[in-house]
Subunit: 204 residues, 2 copies
DNA sequence: TTACCCATACCGACCAAATGGTACAAAATA
DNA sequence: TATTTTGTACCATTTGGTCGGTATGGGTAA
């Protein structure tokens, strides 16, 4: 075998993901990607038959990353506490922590970027995306059901929607981080979500 | 005076705002705009010297609309109840209502669309945007301070951040509406926000 | 009233640059 | 040498933008 093309392929993926998150996919010409990676057009199109294929590969990669973090953080959280409510709070905390390290223009969601510029490229891509999101929602929802057994909520709530609110807050925070002058929107609004959980399951 | 050019200008603005929200600004060629409006390129560039100028005009228009709704809904809410907590809940309800009428691809925020595709075009534009958002946040924050006098919150919270959470939930909901199969994300997650307020200010 | 004026509003052909994509030769490694 | 990987030069289309000219219609002077 000649030199490993997967390295180049991965570099293209990583670079274009960064660019897509910070300035959008359509707004990022291939020339900019290859310039930043340090390759030429021929190489690019050897690895990705078209820009659309790149888009799909990016989504796939992003999804797989997201699913990995989900499992990783779940495992960490269950290891750190026996109490389901504490586990969930720790889980959210881990996500907060993850974002604290990132630079301003690294903060964002590829899905959001895509869905705002062209209804998620494709139907099948759209399904794969919603499945990944649903995976997060379901995992949190399951945990919420455990919590609700131990701590009856102050008012009746649907675990699915409280779980969805986490993703909503996160996606919303990404946008706030870009629009508002304060940088720590993710930290701030996931904190709000934690407070929501705490008051919801507060014992009298 | 010849026929009123402002009509055309407004039509261009409206059309391109719709397109920008549904598929992004960069992803919308001028040709598509003028085709939909039913004018020619010459006319377009007579009204807007460049695509960037169009972008700025759109943001301005969007901001002015947003400020109008803010005032309108505030007025309505204060008229419908004397209790500040009820007023805020009504306010959120009005926003929910507003979105219930919209079509799928009309749901979204121009700011979000812009900030995901090119860091809000310009510095000055960015400031104008954050000012509009801050206007909403401040108005809600003020109301929250009134509320906190009457109903001591279950746990200590910063009104500014609870207020910001409204915008966060709304922006997040827009994205959820596009990513997830369920259409009524705005309804759902603003409802979650209302629940948050209710449990936060619940009387023992 | 009418003829003309002129600013405003609009048209449509054209241009240059950007952008996605191709063809094929040259390298590199096993 | 055979296969995979990369570089170079080029092409076709799209896209933002220009330019000269035309239509509209109210004011105004004869």
């Amino acid at each position: 075998m000649p030199r490993d093309g997967n390295i180049t392929r991965d570099k293209i993926l990583m670079t274009s993901m960064g660019l897509a998150i910070s300035q959008g996919h359509v707004a990022t010409p291939i020339d900019e990607v290859i310039a930043q990676v340090g390759i030429t057009k021929g190489t690019f199109f050897y690895h990705f038959p078209s820009k659309k294929h790149l888009a799909m590969a990016m989504i796939e990669k992003f999804s797989s990353n997201k699913l990995n973090t989900l499992n990783e953080y779940c495992a960490k959280a269950t290891k750190l506490s026996k109490d389901p409510l504490q586990q969930l709070l720790i889980f959210v905390g881990l996500v907060q922590e993850q974002h604290a390290k990132l630079e301003q223009d690294e903060i964002g969601c590829l899905y959001a970027s895509y869905c705002y510029e062209n209804q998620l490229v494709d139907k099948e891509i759209g399904e794969s995306v919603s499945l990944t999101m649903k995976a997060w929602q379901d995992k949190i929802s399951e945990k919420l059901k455990e919590i609700m057994v131990l701590y009856p909520p102050v008012t009746e709530v649907e675990p699915d929607k409280v779980a969805g609110m986490f993703l909503t807050a996160l996606e919303g925070a990404y946008i706030m981080a870009r629009i508002m002058p304060e940088r720590d929107a993710v930290e701030t609004y996931l904190e709000q979500y934690k407070i929501y959980l705490q008051v919801l399951f507060k014992q009298a």
